[in-house]
């Protein structure tokens, strides 16, 4: 079982020289929280092959081709699957979507007529109004003639913890429970950026641990990708 967030907090506070967590100021806890969230974000952006892939089912209705996805999603991984089991293909550009019928079906009209979807386009737009500045929209083409559902694989945003979470027994969601060998070294390195960090004798060791953790991340399929060079497939980005 992975470590709880309180256990990680206590470990990071000790790197700031605070062996007794009850003595930690709000500023120290804030720096610890930044290190924990920062490390989680590094793991979550380590690539789709590092246990970041999750399934999401989206229902679609006849006549509607555009579906905004939850803003917690940071990227979509293809190909998508209809509930019939059929894979559908990614389009490469907005232009292919706008001229779908002209490019792929050999007709003269712009856009897409109604039919059974066999392709999709993932549109990434900025949206400052929402909880995240990025809004991903799924476009299905041809425009669905009938309702159904599509299963997509996504990478969600990393969990974001708050000060209230530090006193709970939340278990950190670290893949394969590699908390000590991958997560903690990254978080420890990040906490050295705290203005409260006053143990320079630890820096060399922490930096080595951090580099080892990044190397292990690569071995486990994370960033950089285990198979290089990764195929250039923009729609899956």
């Amino acid at each position: 079982m992975s470590l709880t967030i309180t256990q990680v907090q206590n470990d990071l506070l000790s790197k700031l020289g605070l062996e007794d967590p009850t003595q930690a100021t709000d500023g120290a806890l804030q720096d610890v929280l930044i290190a924990i969230n920062g490390a989680m974000q590094q793991l979550q952006t380590a690539g789709q092959d590092y246990f970041t892939r999750e399934k999401l089912s989206i229902a679609f209705a006849a006549g509607t081709s555009m579906y905004p996805l939850p803003q917690s999603i940071q990227s979509v991984i293809g190909p998508l699957r209809l509930n019939s089991g059929q894979s559908i293909r990614a389009l490469s550009s907005r232009g292919e979507l706008d001229q779908f019928d002209r490019i792929f079906l050999g007709v003269s009209s712009f856009g897409a007529a109604q039919g059974n979807p066999f392709a999709y386009w993932i549109e990434n737009l900025r949206d400052d109004a929402g909880p995240d500045a990025n809004q991903i929209t799924l476009h299905l083409v041809p425009v669905p003639l009938n309702g159904g559902s599509v299963t997509i694989e996504v990478v969600n945003d990393a969990p974001t913890y708050t000060l209230e979470d530090l006193v709970t027994d939340i278990v950190l969601p670290i893949a394969q429970n590699y908390t000590e060998s991958i997560f903690l070294p990254i978080a420890r390195w990040l906490v050295t950026r705290s203005s409260l960090f006053s143990r320079p004798e630890l820096l060399d060791g922490l930096e080595k641990d951090y580099n080892n953790a990044i190397a292990r991340l690569a071995m486990a399929g994370g960033f950089p990708a285990a198979v290089q060079p990764a195929p250039d497939r923009a729609p899956q980005a």
Binding site: S87, R89, S92, E96, F104, D232, R233
Partner: protein, 291 residues
């Protein structure tokens, strides 16, 4: 072999090495290579692999009402069916026989008074909408018992058919006419008959077709490839891989282009070595069966 099995085989040489992960644009690269291979395969095989006998009907005259202006070869609306392209049409007020070139296009300018006119379309032409057309092989023949075979006029440059031009009755002669494919006209070629049929006649003719094109629908439906089994692994796949090399989706990290080139050359040689006739030898030196 189904189209899905085939795409999987050649898709292993595409970037990502798994055709199920390709984008829609990348799948068109697979299609492009597949169709190129199909046509190269059938282009190297004896014609009998492309041949079939198809039936058709030369219909009786059909009355039409159109609006047309003097000197124009464009009608005000689409009154002709695509199947009528190539057929003779005679419009009221113009004694000249004209020809259908499109659903609202005439081959020659209308030489009569402008306005609404009545006319007739004669069923004296046929072209095949089935599969990419290659060429006509045999003479068309009537399917009615005892019907007299048609005379071919091609060798005499239509001189025989000209005896029956602009007459109506039972067709006695036929010839082929090109309709100007390079000018955007379709079809490439049609068969003309004279006299123009007075009633409906059922006929058949041997025609060679190129292979059916694979389309995006074949990525969904597991259709059977239009290729005899013995030519799939030996020829179609090597030729498709060769064609795939010229597309953006080719995985060039394996550096196996030389082997692919050699495989394609061997495939063409194999195709060229197929027997020229499917049945017993049929030539003027009476070659025994088996040779």
């Amino acid at each position: 072999m189904t189209t899905i099995e085939f795409f999987h085989r050649i898709g292993r040489h595409a970037r990502g090495r798994d055709f199920t992960k390709l984008s829609l644009s990348e799948t068109t690269d697979l299609l492009e290579a597949s169709n190129a291979a199909l046509n190269r395969l059938y282009g190297s095989l004896p014609t009998y692999f492309k041949e079939m006998t198809i039936g058709f009907i030369l219909p009786p005259p059909r009355q039409i009402n159109v609006t047309v202006a003097r000197g124009s070869d464009l009608l005000s609306s689409s009154v002709f069916a695509p199947a009528e392209i190539g057929r003779s049409v005679v419009l009221g007020g113009d004694p000249n026989w004209n020809q259908v070139l499109g659903t609202q296009n005439l081959a020659n300018p209308y030489n009569g008074e402008s306005g609404d006119v009545q006319g007739y379309v004669y069923g004296d032409a046929f072209w095949s909408e089935r599969y990419p057309f290659d060429r006509i092989i045999g003479n068309p023949r009537f399917l009615q018992p005892g019907a007299i075979p048609l005379m071919r006029s091609e060798l005499t440059r239509s001189s025989y058919a000209s005896l029956f031009y602009q007459t109506i009755g039972r067709p006695q002669a036929f010839w082929t006419q090109s309709l100007g494919n390079s000018q955007g006209n379709e079809p490439l070629i049609c068969m003309r008959f004279a006299p123009a049929p007075d009633i409906a006649y059922t006929m058949s003719v041997r025609i060679a077709f190129w292979a059916m094109r694979l389309t995006l629908a074949d990525f969904t439906a597991a259709n059977t490839l239009p290729v005899p089994d013995q030519f799939i692994e030996t020829c179609l796949i090597p030729l498709a891989l060769k064609a795939l090399m010229a597309t953006p989706v080719w995985d060039d990290t394996r550096k196996d282009e030389d082997r692919i080139d050699k495989g394609a050359a061997e495939a063409i040689a194999f195709l060229k070595n197929q027997p020229g006739q499917v049945g017993s030898p049929d030539n003027r030196i009476f070659t025994p069966i088996g040779f």
